[in-house]
């Protein structure tokens, strides 16, 4: 080894050791490392747990909302399906999975395994656990929390609230009056006239039954392109805390609702006024 190199080596050693001896450079505490590791593991567990819950909520949403039912209308139901799709819920689920994977990668955990395999295992784990969770009533309890607790409701509502919102291309509710080529339907938000004149096949539906339709909205109601009746158990949203909003079926005075709507009276008031006393 040349003298210059030897000098440089001693020089570097001296520089580093003088900083250590002077206390300018100190060992970071073990507790600090422990806290960092626990913190990272905590964030990972939180993300994975939320991903599991969100997946259970996605399944719950598909089961309980009108979203998948629209696909039973074939291509005509596609717009209504896309309109009612729980984008925020699914995107949040994907983001949580992504963050969990990112944490694994950034921290070099399990780096001996290929990341592709790890990511696949993570997704399978979350999906399986979420599926199992969906079999319990946890998702329903979360949804109940949405109605019962104001603060929790504000957090959860953006994710599940879409299942209850009014749709432009789809409609579901209880038939409260049957006319010549129309039905009046009670939805959780309004009473709406559904025009059935555009239906390719006639539908036999009675007052008091539940129905689902695809079509489009017009100024004076909803024009159905396809429609079918549903059993109460199959009615989307019926088990989602909105039963009361459909109300129990009571016969109505024929023609009363139409006349009432024409007078610009709110639909709820018309409904009350038109029940057979």
């Amino acid at each position: 080894m040349s003298t210059t190199n030897k000098d440089k080596i001693l020089d570097l050693e001296d520089k580093v050791m003088s900083q250590i001896k002077s206390g300018h450079v100190q060992l970071r505490s073990r507790l600090m490392f422990l806290a960092e590791k626990l913190g990272m593991k905590g964030i990972f567990l939180l993300c994975a747990s939320f991903a599991v819950i969100f997946f259970a909520l996605v399944l719950f949403y598909f089961k309980q909302s009108d979203n998948l039912v629209y696909l039973s209308f074939g291509s005509r139901g596609l717009y209504a399906f896309l309109e009612s799709f729980p984008y925020l819920l699914v995107v949040s689920f994907l983001i949580l999975i992504f963050i969990a994977g990112f944490i694994i990668r950034q921290n070099g955990w399990l780096y001996k395994q290929s990341f592709g395999r790890l990511a696949f295992a993570l997704v399978i784990f979350v999906v399986l656990l979420g599926g199992v969770l969906a079999l319990t009533n946890i998702a329903e309890q979360i949804e109940q929390g949405m109605y019962n607790s104001h603060s929790a409701g504000q957090i959860i509502h953006p994710f599940l609230g879409r299942g209850l919102s009014n749709r432009a291309r789809g409609l579901s509710g209880r038939v409260i009056e049957v006319g010549a080529d129309f039905v009046n339907v009670q939805t959780p938000w309004e009473i709406i006239r559904v025009d059935m004149s555009a239906l390719s096949l006639p539908v036999d539906i009675e007052a008091g039954e539940f129905m689902i339709a695809v079509g489009h909205r017009q100024a004076n109601g909803f024009v159905a392109e396809a429609l079918h009746a549903l059993e109460e158990d199959d009615m989307p949203m019926i088990g989602r805390g909105v039963r009361r909003q459909f109300g129990n079926y009571r016969p109505m005075v024929p023609g009363c609702l139409q006349a009432c709507f024409g007078a610009d009276t709110p639909s709820g008031t018309c409904r009350e006024a038109c029940f057979v006393k």
Partner: protein
């Protein structure tokens, strides 16, 4: 008490952490040349190299309590050096790789590039080829050919699966060979 030079790296780390911080000088002595040799593949300027090397040893000391003594210390210190080198490259510039004559011989033997008439030309080409290789191929190739690390160690340094290390080395070697043959 056992002389510091007789202790293994891992025993030395425990001793520095629990007994005597002065023993850290032994770690510096053991790794200074090795790490300087490795870092020279990323940083050619001697002053910059010295600064980075000093930063590596300071970082290693600060984080000594984070080292898991059931693992290999050399892989851990190389990983820190590797990250520091990458930070340096990000901050400043992409540099040509410095390859010396012995290393050139290693590359020549391993790559088996036939009929090289001018060895000086090859040296320039190897430097250029290595510099042009994607980082994902260059890192394992440098560690394998020039630092003589095993696949297992490279896997620990780069935090990659062992099979991936093998694949990257094979692909990098092939790209390097193609580049050298094309430049003849």
């Amino acid at each position: 008490m056992t002389a510091p030079s007789k202790l293994s790296d891992e025993e030395l780390v425990v001793a520095v952490r629990e007994k005597d911080k002065d023993l850290y000088a032994e770690i510096i002595r053991r790794y200074q040349i090795k790490l300087a040799h490795y870092l020279r593949k990323f940083i050619s300027h001697p002053d910059e190299l010295e600064d980075v090397l000093q930063e590596v040893f300071i970082k290693v000391y600060r984080n000594l309590n984070d080292f898991d003594i059931s693992r290999k210390f050399s892989s851990w210190i190389y990983r820190i050096a590797h990250n520091e080198a990458l930070n340096h490259l990000k901050k400043y510039r992409k540099e040509l790789i410095a390859v010396d004559s012995e290393e050139l011989q290693i590359m020549d033997d391993k790559l088996d590039v036939a009929n090289i008439a001018d060895r000086n030309l090859l040296k320039i080409d190897v430097r250029r080829a290595l510099s042009m290789l994607k980082l994902k191929y260059r890192d394992p190739i440098i560690l394998y050919f020039f630092e003589q690390k095993s696949y297992e160690e490279i896997s620990d340094i780069l935090h990659l699966p062992k099979n991936t290390v093998g694949t990257l080395i094979a692909r990098g070697k092939s790209e390097l060979k193609n580049f050298l043959i094309a430049s003849l």
